[in-house]
Structure formats: C-alpha cells, structure tokens
Amino acid sequence: MKEHEFFVGSEGREVFWNIPLPAFEIILFALTAVALAIFAYGVYRRWQMWKAMGKPEMRLDNIKERVKIVLAEVFLQKKVLKDPYPGVMHALIFFGFFVLIFGAAFDAGQHHVTEPLFSWTFLKGNFYLVFSFLMDLFGLFVLIGVVIALDRRFVKKPDRLGYRGTLDTTPDDVIVLLLIGAIIVTGFIAEALRIYVTNPSWEVWSFVGWLLSRTFTGVELDTARTLHQVIWWVHAALGLGFIAYIPYSRLLHIITTPANHFLTSFKPTGYIEPIRDFENAEAFGVGQLEEFTWKQIFDSDACTRCGRCQDGCPAYLTGKPLSPKKLVQDIKTYWLEKCPDPLKAMVAAKLAGAPAEGDAPAEETPAKALVGEVIDLHELWACTNCMYCMENCSSSIEHVPKIIDMRRYKVLTEADFSPELQLSCRNMENNSNPWGVGAHVRGDWAKELGVKTLAEDPNVEYLFYVGCSGSFDDRGKKISIAFAKILQEAGVSFGILGTEEGCCGDSAMRCGNEYLFQTLAQANIDVMNGYGVKKIIAICPHGYNALKKDYPNFGGNFEVYHHTEIIAKLIADRKIKLNEPLKGRFVYHDSCFLGRYNKIYDAPRQILKAIPGIDVVEMERKLEKSFCCGAGGARMWMEEDIGERINNARTKQAIEAGADMIAVGCPFCLTMMSDGIKDNHKEETMQAWDLAELVVKAMGREEVKPPVDTCAV
C-alpha cells in the first residue's frame, strides 16, 4: 500500500492508519463475514417465521406509491416527527446512523475499490474536510439522540413506554441504546487518538475528535498508538456486533418498520374488508392466530413499542384494559410462542429422516384461545374504533381491523357477546335501528316540514340520508329538522326515504356483526339504486362513512357528503346568511368518523367561524389527535363499566379549554357530550349543539317560542 501525501491543500487521512495491514484486514474481513452470516441467518429465520402463518393478502400492488410512502415515512420520518420530542430523538439517531453508514461506505469504497482498482482517492481536500465535519456532526447527533433516549427511558419514563405505570423496558432496550452509544464513543476516541498522534492542522474540522484529542496531552505517543489499536478493534467489534444483533433484537425494526410502511393498505381509512362468503364458511372472523392474514401478523413484528397509539387511546386513557400497543405486543408474543421455529423444524425433520423441505409440523404449544386468553375480552370490547392508534402509529400498524376480525369471531361464530349489544342487534334486525323503535315512525320527524320522500318525488338532486339518530332519537331529530330547514332555506333540491330508509349498519359492522351489516346495507342500497340516487347527504358521520366507503362493496356507488360540508359550502356561496348573533365560547369536538376517518376538519370550523357573535376556542386534543366521545365502534350500545366514562373525560377537556358550548357534527357525539355535561354537573352553564342547530339559530330561522307554551305529545 503506498503512502499518501497529506498536506494543507490536500487534506485527508489514511483510512487504516495505525492498523497493521494486511493481517488485521484479513481478521476484520473474517469478522465481518461472521457478523453478516449471523445477520443473514437471523433474517432468514425470521423470514421463514413471517411466511409460516396467516392467510394470504395482497399488499404488493402499486409499487410506485409504496416506494413514495417509504420515502416519506422512513427517509423523512414524517409520522415519527409528528411527536416532536421523541420524534427528534429518533431522527437524530436515524439520520446520524444513516450518514455514518455512508461515511463508512466512503472509507471502504476508497480503500477497497476506487484506490486499488483506479488509483483514485476522493477523501481529500475540501471534500475530506466537509466529510470529516459531517461525520463528527452526525456522530454527535446520534450521541445526543441516545442520551435523550436514555433520559426518556430511565428518567422521564413517560407512561407510553409502559402499561399502567409499569415500564416495559427489556434488557434488549438497554443493550441496544448502550451499543449505539458505545459505537459512537469508541469511534470518537479512536479518531481523537489518531489526531493526537498525527496532529494535522486541518483535523480541526473533525471537531469532536479534535477537541477530544486535546484531552490526551501528555500521553506518550506510543501509548496512544497502542490505545488507538485497542479502541479501534473495540469500535470495529461493536459495529459488527450491531449488524449481527439486528435480527435478534428490537433493532429488527430497521427492517420490519420500513417493510410495514411499504406494505401499507391503500384502502380508505377505517375500511374493513367485508366477509364475502357466508354460505360455505364454518367459522367467521379470527378466533385463531393463523386466521389473521400474514400481514396482520407481520404488523406485530413491526411494532417498536413506542406507545404513540396508547398516548391518545380513549379506552386506555380512561382506565380500560385496552392499550393498542399491548394488544399488538400480546399478539406478537403469542406468535413467537406459536410460530414453528424453522431451525428446530429442520433439525427435527433431519433426525426423523424426512426431507428438510416443506412445512414442518408446528411445535407443541399449549392451546390458548386468541380471543379471551391472549386478548382479554374487556380489551376487545373496549375499542371505540376511533382510529387514533392507526392514524398516529409511526410503523403503519393496523390495529382496528384486527379488533373487528376478533369481534366477528365472538359475534358471528360464537354468538358470545354482551346482552345489551345482542338487544341492539335484534333491534337492528327487527326494526332497522339500534333503539328498537318501530320502523314505521322513521320518517315522522319530517311530517310537519313538508319534506318529501323519494316515493313522492324522486326527481331531486340529493337524498338526505337521515340515519337512525336523526330519525328516532329525540335530540337527533332536532338535527334532522334543523338541517332540513337549512336546505329548504337555501333552495336545495332534496328528499328523504322515509320508512323506506334503513339503519346504515355501521354499529353492526363495528361490533363484528358483519352478516347483519350486509343485510342492512343491501336493503338500503336496493332502495337507493331503485330511485337512481346519485348524491347523498348524511348528518351522521357513521352513516356517511359506511355509505361512502363500505357500500361500494355491495353495489352502492354514491357521491356522499356530510351535512357540515354542505352547510359550509352554502355559507361560502352565500346561499344562507348567518345574521343573528349567538352567544358563547364554543369549542368544536372532532368526531372520529368525520376527522380521522374522512379528514373533514375544516368545514365544521368554517361554519363556527361564520356564526356571528361567538368566541371559538380549541381543545388540546384536536384534529388528527382528537379524543373520541366514546360512542364509536358500537360502544354507543354497550355498558361502560370500567374506569372513567370516555364522554366525561372528553367533556372535561372541553371545560378545561374554557368553553361553555360544545359544537359537534355527529349525533352520537352530541348524545355523549350532552351526557358528559350532565355528569360533570355543568348543565346550568354549558350546552352541546350540532352545527346544523347553531346555523339555524344564526339564520334567525329558529321558531320563536312564547315564554310559556304547551305542546301536544
């Protein structure tokens, strides 16, 4: 190897300075080969495990979009950075390591490729100076990231790094952090010792190594050389150890998390794959681990236990046993228990004289029920389907479909679910609404308003799909009346289905009663298609979401709008005028099925803004981080007997925001917030309103009632 000439103007360094070549290089290569082999074996073994279980699912279409998602989520850390403090922590380590790997690749590239083959060196001159500076800077970033991580895990201990106050830190978590830290520290020391011995003036650019080298003043040069060799080997061994350790530790997320982003679902948010064959199946939903798809199982291996999901889970935060993180981790633990170990299987097959190929029989594991034992039933039923976990998961894990699949098993296959939910299901079966009010009164709210049904006049632009709340619930009916008045005032051409309308089925679907859901959906679709309906407006986000995203599966293809979208447009187009000032400090509560599910965040806020005379404040948990009212996922129809009531917790957040009026765009939310106001003993000073009701008031179209009045019932 020829000697380099380094001088001012041709700054650089010898790549393997102080390392006796070629003997050490051979050892290094041998160690590298061992590390890579251990890594490759680990990944291979895991690959076999990923393949071993689960039903097929197509997740490799549309590669271009998938690559884009990986670029955004991995290389720009989009979701990771949404949470600033842990986001920056991770980004420091991620980007730091990313740049350092490039550094190592440049070193190796010059030393093993460009120089021996083309006699070309590039790590010199100004490029070297910038390179050195960046290496040190990003090395420092990693170190800062590691310190923040240690501070979080051992000093700050945020709840989300555990479950109900118990940290779930494993030895592996500590090993990984210390390993990363040690690689960086030994790297800096080795650099500092080299700078101390060779002492070139330009190495001030390697600012960390330079500063550190100053601390060695007085050390014998020979001692420094020996020390350098030792540290250099430690550094190399740690680096290689890191690579080898990846598939056996949480570092595996370097592979699984980007892979999970790549395998993301392109279905609309909250879409649930329907059961397509009821006639020939023996069991429905997921009662056994292997009844999940491979992707649903793979999800759990991509979980980094970061706890972003848990941070806003309404069930977890109000003291229910459910934590999305725990659910995914419990599935993972069970999978690791149950999944046949390909190595053991291979050995067993060899010993038995059978060919090593093919599916080896699964390990004998004690039979455990997935639903009921691995996943506690209280966890399963606590989920409100609010989609916080999925929206905020930085690994693109899909929690909610797993929950619905397991609920399907309980409801459809076992018919084992709470009596109150059974009653709601029977009510939906018999009267097409969860309350069980006689189906014949569905259209009665509209009788005095002169709203026509499509049977009376099918030539209208919009079908106003009222839904069960708007038809049967006394408070809900007021929303329907208000919205109908707005449409009439604006001259919008619309009609309703009256008694021909049925329940949208969202609650049935989300409690796992897919059979009932499809029966209800099909009945609605047949009626709507019968009238040639094209555009639909819903006042309930649950119906809105189901009609928009789930009905197309059964031949219902409509343009679906939520009433807040329509009202916001009517205001913007000056079709309605809001001249009557209202009073109060309003806060808007984002409905999950409007916000996270359908990204309708602006229209409701625009409506509030257009109402004269009011103050508007925001809650801390809003938009995509909004907090559920507690009624989604069919929770509206279930008892809530563990922990604090979710609606009370949400109402408290509104109170803390200083609001005395809660505006909503969902009849379920309206019920929950109204109850929350009562339970918080604020009914004298606080009220909840649907935006349509507020708009009618602000239009001055609300009936002026005498101070005392009697009305017939």
């Binding site: 199946a281 679910f417 006689g438 005392v708 009045d709 009305c711 019932v713």
Partner: protein, 256 residues
Amino acid sequence: MNIIACVKQVPDTEAQIKVKADGSGIEEGQIKWVMNPYDEFGVEEALKLKEKNGGDVTIVSVGPARAMETIRTALAMGADKGVHICDPAFDNADAYVIANALAAVIKTLPHDIIFCGQRAIDDDAGQVGAMLAEALGLPQLTLVTKLEFAGASVKVIRPIEGAQLSIETALPCIVTAQKGLNEPRYASLPGIMKAKKKPVDVKNAAALGIPTDAKAKVAKTIPPPARPPGKIVCGDDPAQKAAELGRLLREEAKAI
C-alpha cells in the same frame, strides 16, 4: 332426551298494528314478524336441557307459510328439526284447535318434556299450553321461572304473589315459560347457515286428521279508542311554567 318446543310467530312488539277496515283482524302487510318472546324462553330452556343431558329438540309451530321463518330462527338457535303445521284451515283457529293440532303432532313424536310460552303476546289468550296438556293427558307446570332436571322428573319454580312455589312432577310433562327463566341466546352465524338445511316437516290439517272448527270465534277486532293528546308545558322560566301547569290542572284537567 326428547324435547319439544312449541313456537308461535307474532308481530314485533314495536310493530304498528292497524285494524282492518272490516274489523276482521289486523293488516299484516307492513308487520315485522318475530318469535313470541315467551316461546323463545321455552326454546332456550329446551336447548339448555339438550346441551346438559343430550337428546334432541324438535320445534312445532302452527301458522301460515311465513311461520317457517320463526321455526328456522329456533333451528338457528340450535334446535334439531321442526314440524310446521300449515293449512289455511287454521287461519281462524282458536286455542282449542291449535292445541289439538300440536297434540296430534306431538303424539307421533317421542317426548319427555314439552315447552310452550306462558302466552303469546299477540292475542294474550294464554290457553294453548294448558289445553295441550289436557289433550296429551300430561301434567302441566305453568309460568315457570326456574327449572331443574333430575333424571325422570323436573322441579320448577313458579312465582306467586309474595312467595314462590316449588313444584315437582314426573316426566313427561308440559312447561310454560315465563320471563326470568333464562336469557335466550343470539343465533350464531354457523347456526343460521346450518338451520337452512335442517329438516322441517310440513303437515296440513288432513294429514293430522283433526277438526279445524274453532269453538270460539273472534267476532270483531276494534282498535282502542284514540287517546286525547297529552300536553307538555315548555318554556325557559320555571316559575312561569309552574303557573301555567297549575292553571291547566285547575281549568282544563280540573284535577285541582
């Protein structure tokens, strides 16, 4: 163990009942039909007995073609087979005819215990269980809220005003189910699918060889008189509301 459960299809409790213009009955067009809730308790108890002691459950029902849905519902819950007594001759049948029809079928089937609802929620007559017991010459245990099976006999609880009776009888016997006996199960989907393939015998009056003339006939169905509308005192000021309420009670209702 051979268990029989008799079921009747009735209008849903929330259904809007409209009396036919000629008073000959109710309009059936818009009605959602369901299994009589008391019969459902009987079916559930039959299934529980079967699950504990083995045997099979046969559903027997008298009704028009639509009653088949109700038989299938019971089969979906877990019953094994059904007998559907279906004949226009039974359209105006009274409890006596129905009980005899059921008895004619049940006589041909092995039976250790027979369940009926204590009454049907449509005509509220509450006679079929008792008449069936007479027709079969079996002991009858009515309005049962708890049942214990002990080999060749059953012990049941029947609540009465201020106390409860514990009654025992040897099998076979007839039990009429009262609310509180159990919580009827929700049919599983595999159950619903299997129910479609379970055997149901359809029998007409001729096959049973029984008289179909009702001893009692419904002369006329009359809707209840329209209730005068109630009133709600609305308003924001409690004092004014109270004053208005007082005025209405005194002047209009003449209650005070």
